[in-house]
Every structure is written in structure tokens, then in C-alpha cells.
């Protein structure tokens, strides 16, 4: 734990103003991300899971510097880069693979032209660019001949490989994967995940993996954070978060995943199905933002926002039930499902 994390964000917040009226004045805000903190160790795959409106893509875009945070700091390899995000040096370290392979490649540029962009702008010797592009295509297991093709001549999986090759071009240390396989079929998804895992080992890459697919996360990430309405509800080692989810939302989320075997079905926490839908990030409920859907909500949940409670080694969750529990007895944490039997 003493090792410096590769990426550490603390108090990361992003509010998008809602403008309206005649002079487009600020009439409200979409609070997309609120006070999110996490650290990613070198060489690990950190997953951020959440449903729509959870702010996961906004976090990805802040980490790569597409959006400027409203508040919070970002440390990269120990140094504060909050002001440098978006600079050339930072971009050389942190790259991103987008969700939709159909729109992340320019339809009017050949594969080689797209992959060469980062090389050109990071002063790669001109004479060697063609070789480097071929080498990158080989790394993602595509034939060199694809260099002269256009995106529409490739399948979704092949396009995503090109996007990965392009992200690798400047030899970054951290790659943000924003739902890289959610637009792909499972048979293609498996191949892409396999490729990413291989590259991570080979090149010593670190991944921030954004997804709504919990089953995928269970298999790919070493640690995960569960987001709800722009806040982390729970974070910890994947095995622990999936094995003994502490937050009712995490439990419900895992419980709702459709699975393909009885073995998996047995692993799902039994929790009453959630009612209602995720509130809009422009109208976040007061107190614990999950209380409107939580089957175990009680009075404090409507009043105050819970703080993180440690429930295991590096495993924390933000829930009043857990706070109460640890306040009464500092013993082994019990999941709220059991706790709820006698509130």
C-alpha cells in the first residue's frame, strides 16, 4: 500500500450548468460527479461501474482532460497534474478508448491516417511513422494491409482494435477504457478483453475501466468502484465487492444481472427488486441519494449523506446502516440484508 498510485483523484466534482431564459443565465446544474475519490495502482485494472446518470463517462472524460473538473485534484504518479490535464506531456501518459467504435474513427480517414495522428503530434520521426503504424496494427492482431482501409470496411471489433492501436501509439501508461465493448457482440467482446488483458501484461499498462456490465467487471478488474448518481457507493477489491457487497445498491445491481448458469444465479444476493428509476442528476435527492429506491431506507437516510465505512481490507461503502453497525459494535461487518431484519 506504500507504493505511489499511478492515478489518484480526490474530491473530483463536475457540475454542468443548465442555462435558460433570454440571456441564457444559469438556472440550475446537472451534478454529474460529486466528490469522487479513488486511486489506481500501477498495473491494475480499476473498474468504475454504474448505470445511466452515474457520472462514469464524465469521470473518464475528466481523467483524460476532455472536461475540466469543477473541483478536486488529480495526481499522476505522485505529482499534482490538476492544472496540467490537457497538456501534451499529460496526453502522452494517459489515453482513452471510446465506447462506440463506429464514431471514434473518422470515416473519411484511412486506418493508417487515424493511427498516425498521435505520432505526428508527438514528434515521432516522419520516416518511421509507417513502420510504427504497421507495428501497432500487429500489436492489436490486425493485418498490416488494414492500414489503407477505411473504417466502414472493418467490423465493429476490428474498429475497436484500431482504436486501441491508436491509443497505444504514444506509449501511454494509463488507458481509460470507456465501455470499450458495450457496442459489440459477446463473441467479439471476449476477443477484445483478451487482447486488452494481454497488452496490459506485455506493456505494463494500467487501466481505468468504465462499464455498466458487472459480469464483465467481475472478470476483468482487480478493484472496482460502484457509482450511483455521481457518487461512489462502494469501492473495494473485486472479489470482496462481488462476494460480500455491503451497499444495498451494489446488492441490487448484482442481483439484477441476468446470468447464464445456476452456479452464477446462486451467487446473486437476494434483495427485493428496486422500485422506481434513477433520479435525474439535476435533481439529486437530499440525504443519501439512494434513499428513494433503497428497500432499507430509514430516517437518517433522508436527512444526512452517509460517509464511508470500512467493511474490509480496502473495502468501503457509504451507507447509514453500516455506520450504525460499526458505531454499536466494532466487529466484522454484516451486510445490510441481515441487518435489515431488526432495524
Amino acid at each position: 500500500m506504500s507504493e505511489t498510485p499511478l492515478l489518484e483523484v480526490s474530491g473530483l466534482t463536475k457540475h454542468f450548468p443548465i442555462r435558460g431564459g433570454v440571456i441564457q443565465q444559469r438556472v440550475g446544474a446537472v451534478r454529474a460527479v460529486n466528490d469522487v475519490s479513488f486511486a489506481i495502482k500501477k498495473g491494475e485494472v480499476f473498474g468504475l461501474a454504474g448505470e445511466s446518470g452515474s457520472g462514469k463517462s464524465t469521470i473518464a472524460r475528466m481523467v483524460v482532460g476532455l472536461y475540466r473538473p469543477t473541483a478536486g485534484t488529480v495526481h499522476f504518479d505522485g505529482s499534482d497534474v490538476s492544472g496540467l490535464i490537457g497538456s501534451r506531456d499529460y496526453r502522452k501518459q494517459v489515453q482513452m478508448v471510446f465506447q462506440n467504435p463506429g464514431s471514434s474513427l473518422n470515416p473519411r480517414r484511412t486506418i493508417a491516417q487515424s493511427v498516425a495522428v498521435p505520432l505526428i503530434f508527438h514528434d515521432y520521426p516522419k520516416a518511421k511513422i509507417a513502420d510504427r503504424v504497421a507495428e501497432l496494427l500487429e500489436m492489436v492482431e490486425l493485418p498490416r494491409s488494414f492500414a489503407i482501409r477505411y473504417p466502414h470496411e472493418l467490423s465493429g471489433g476490428q474498429k475497436q482494435r484500431v482504436a486501441i492501436a491508436r491509443a497505444l501509439a504514444v506509449e501511454p501508461r494509463l488507458i481509460v477504457l470507456d465501455e470499450p465493448t458495450s457496442a459489440l457482440d459477446v463473441s467479439v467482446q471476449a476477443k477484445i478483453i483478451d487482447l486488452l488483458a494481454g497488452l496490459a501484461g506485455e506493456l505494463g499498462l494500467t487501466f481505468l475501466f468504465i462499464s455498466h456490465d458487472l459480469s464483465l467487471m467481475r472478470n476483468f478488474c482487480s478493484r472496482v468502484g460502484i457509482l450511483y448518481l455521481g457518487r461512489l457507493a462502494e469501492t473495494g477489491p473485486t472479489v470482496d465487492v462481488f462476494g460480500s457487497p455491503a451497499h444495498p445498491y451494489t446488492q441490487a445491481l448484482i442481483g439484477a444481472v441476468p446470468v447464464v448458469s445456476d452456479e452464477e444465479a446462486a451467487l446473486k444476493p437476494s434483495i427485493p427488486a428496486l422500485s422506481g428509476e434513477i433520479p435525474s442528476p439535476s435533481r439529486i435527492p437530499k440525504g443519501c441519494s439512494f434513499h428513494t429506491r433503497c428497500p432499507f431506507a430509514f430516517e437518517p437516510c433522508r436527512q444526512t449523506d452517509p460517509v464511508f465505512t470500512v467493511v474490509g481490507q480496502g473495502h468501503e461503502a457509504r451507507c447509514h446502516l453500516l455506520e450504525e453497525r460499526t458505531a454499536s459494535a466494532a466487529t466484522v461487518p454484516v451486510s445490510p440484508v441481515e441487518r435489515s431484519a431488526h432495524p
Binding site: S187, D194, G255, E263, E277
Partner: protein, 331 residues
């Protein structure tokens, strides 16, 4: 077992594409009965959407043309019956739950208007007389059945005012308005978040069971299939490669494609291997001879250049593969 309500037999569909002919469906047969939920599962481009369009009679022709086969509905062939008669079935006896709750509703009309209009046209075709009040009553009744809170208010609401999950319920209500006998659900719930999806699937399940409708789901999500369906058809490159009862199919997948597909789904147990399936779906203009999965199949051999037989591998469980031996004595 009861006679199938929907009986697609040997359906082949060709598409004319830039001067070339592509066989997009090749001898597809499937049956849907009232009671057990059927699912048609496959990946992008496998032809499941074309199948759906052919059944609903909304294939655009040209470029599509039906080359062979029949689509039986309640004993009559939809493909040979007069157009008027077939149109009379659409949206009444057979109806469809659309996939995308964001685009399937017209943003400029209220929910009530849109649903009442559907009733109005169906009534006109069926020669039913019902006044405006009667239509409104029926809409509110169905909104209530899909567990919409405050149906009176929803009646006057515009789609934009509703969340994704609510709109999905409206789409289900829309399909149920005219008391169909066959319901086709296109990717039910897949555009929604998992927690909302679970709720919608449970609702669909209850509604179908309460009315003993025949349900055909079309989806790419094997998890949804396992939770919702009783009988599964697996489609690959325009052919049905395997079909069987859900439990048997997931426990003992018999076609190499089904096996690989189930293998590819990430497991909540964390035991996924991510082998994937090599290669891509074939070009329909010039598909592989014999078994269409042959070029990607790890077990391919010489026999696969011939069209594989439909081998019964278990009770009601059939796989189109040369590797399989017929099961001894099927109960």
C-alpha cells in the same frame, strides 16, 4: 402439446444488394405456442431482425424477397393470404413491443393520443364501434395493467416527460391494446439499465402469463433469454443452428456455436476465459458451402461441406451439426 400459433417453416429471404443476391435467411423454422415463452437469440447480423420483419410483414421489398417457406399463423399462411386479411392481423392478433423506448414514440403527441389512435384504426379494420370515451377507457385500463402509476395523468403526458422505463411500459401497453394472441418483443429491456430491465422483464412475464399469450422474444442477451424464455432458438448467419428447452440448451449446448456463445458471456462467478469466437460472420452474398459456421468452427471436418442434418439430441432439443448423434430413445 397444443398446435403452434405461429409456425414459420423453411423461411428463406433474399436481399438484392448492389446488383448481387444475398440469402439472408436460409430455411428458418420456428414455432411459438401460447404458454411457453420462445426466444430467438443471435448476434448482430445473424438475421433475427429480418425474421421479425418477415413475420410482421414489414420487410421492404425490394430489396427483400421471400424465396421459400411459409409463415403459418393460427393455421393460415400469412404469405399467401390476401394483403387485406394480413393487414387486419397486424397490431391486433399479432403485435410487437418495439425495442427503443426513446424513438418508438412520437414526441409531438400525448401518450393518450398515440394509444387511442391505435385503437381507433384497429376498430375501423375490425368493424368495431367505440366512441372517444370508450377508447380512453381502454387506454387507461391497459396503462393500469402495465402498472403505470396515475394512468389518468400519463394519458395526457408527452413522451419527453417520462423516463426510459416508463416509456418501455408504454410500448408494452401499446402492444397489448388490441388484445393480441401473439406478442413479439424486440430486444425487451436491453436499452435500459439493469435494475430497470429486471422490473420490465418481470412485468412482461406477468402480463403474458395472465393472458396466456404466445410470446416470441428476439434478443442478443443470453442472460435475458435464460431468465425469460422456456424454449430457445439459436440463430447464426441466417440459419437456426440449435433449438431446445432453455434449461437443456444452457446445461447441454450441443452446437459448437451455442457452446462458444455461452462460453463468451462474462460470468458473475469470475470464471470467464475470454476465448471468443475466431473470425467474423460470413458474407451473405457468398456464404460458406454446407454449414455456415464451418469456417469458424473448431471441430470442422470434411462432412461440414454438406448441409448438416437436424439431429435430435434430447427431448425437443435439436442441433444442426454433423458431430451430434441422435439421442437414444427420447422421452
Amino acid at each position: 402439446m397444443s398446435a403452434p400459433l405461429l409456425d414459420v417453416a423453411g423461411l428463406s429471404v433474399d436481399f438484392a444488394t448492389y446488383g448481387r443476391q444475398a440469402r439472408v435467411l436460409d430455411g428458418v423454422s420456428l414455432q411459438v405456442r401460447a404458454g411457453p415463452h420462445a426466444a430467438l437469440v443471435g448476434e448482430t447480423g445473424c438475421g433475427k431482425s429480418v425474421t421479425l420483419r418477415a413475420i410482421m410483414g414489414i420487410l421492404k421489398s425490394p430489396p427483400a424477397s421471400i424465396a421459400a417457406g411459409s409463415i403459418g399463423f393460427d393455421g393460415a399462411d400469412l404469405l399467401t393470404m390476401p394483403a387485406r386479411q394480413r393487414d387486419g392481423l397486424k397490431g391486433t392478433a399479432m403485435s410487437m413491443v418495439f425495442q427503443d423506448p426513446m424513438t418508438a414514440l412520437n414526441p409531438v403527441f400525448t401518450i393518450g393520443d398515440q394509444l387511442a389512435t391505435i385503437i381507433k384504426y384497429a376498430d375501423r379494420r375490425m368493424g368495431v364501434r367505440r366512441d372517444k370515451q370508450g377508447r380512453k377507457q381502454r387506454v387507461i385500463e391497459v396503462l393500469d395493467q402495465v402498472r403505470m402509476p396515475d394512468p389518468e395523468r400519463i394519458f395526457g403526458a408527452y413522451p419527453i416527460m417520462l423516463s426510459g422505463g416508463m416509456r418501455q411500459r408504454i410500448l408494452i401497453a401499446m402492444a397489448l391494446l388490441n388484445e393480441p394472441r401473439l406478442l413479439i418483443a424486440d430486444e425487451p429491456g436491453t436499452a435500459l439499465d439493469v435494475t430497470t430491465q429486471a422490473e420490465i422483464l418481470a412485468l412482461l412475464n406477468d402480463l403474458v402469463a395472465a393472458r396466456s399469450l404466445a410470446l416470441l422474444m428476439i434478443t442478443h442477451n443470453l442472460g435475458v433469454v435464460r431468465e425469460m424464455a422456456d424454449y430457445v432458438y439459436v440463430m447464426y448467419a441466417g440459419t437456426i443452428v440449435e433449438h431446445g428447452p432453455t434449461e437443456a440448451l444452457f446445461e447441454r449446448p450441443s452446437h459448437p456455436y451455442t457452446q462458444a456463445l455461452i462460453e463468451c458471456v462474462p460470468k458473475l462467478s469470475g470464471t470467464s476465459t475470454f476465448k471468443g469466437i475466431d473470425g467474423t460472420i460470413p458474407d451473405y452474398v457468398d456464404p460458406p458451402v454446407g454449414c455456415r459456421f464451418r469456417p469458424r468452427c473448431p471441430y470442422r471436418h470434411d462432412a461440414c461441406f454438406e448441409r448438416p442434418p437436424n439431429v435430435t439430441v434430447g427431448a425437443n432439443h435439436v442441433a444442426a451439426c454433423w458431430l451430434r448423434q441422435p439421442a437414444e430413445e427420447v422421452a
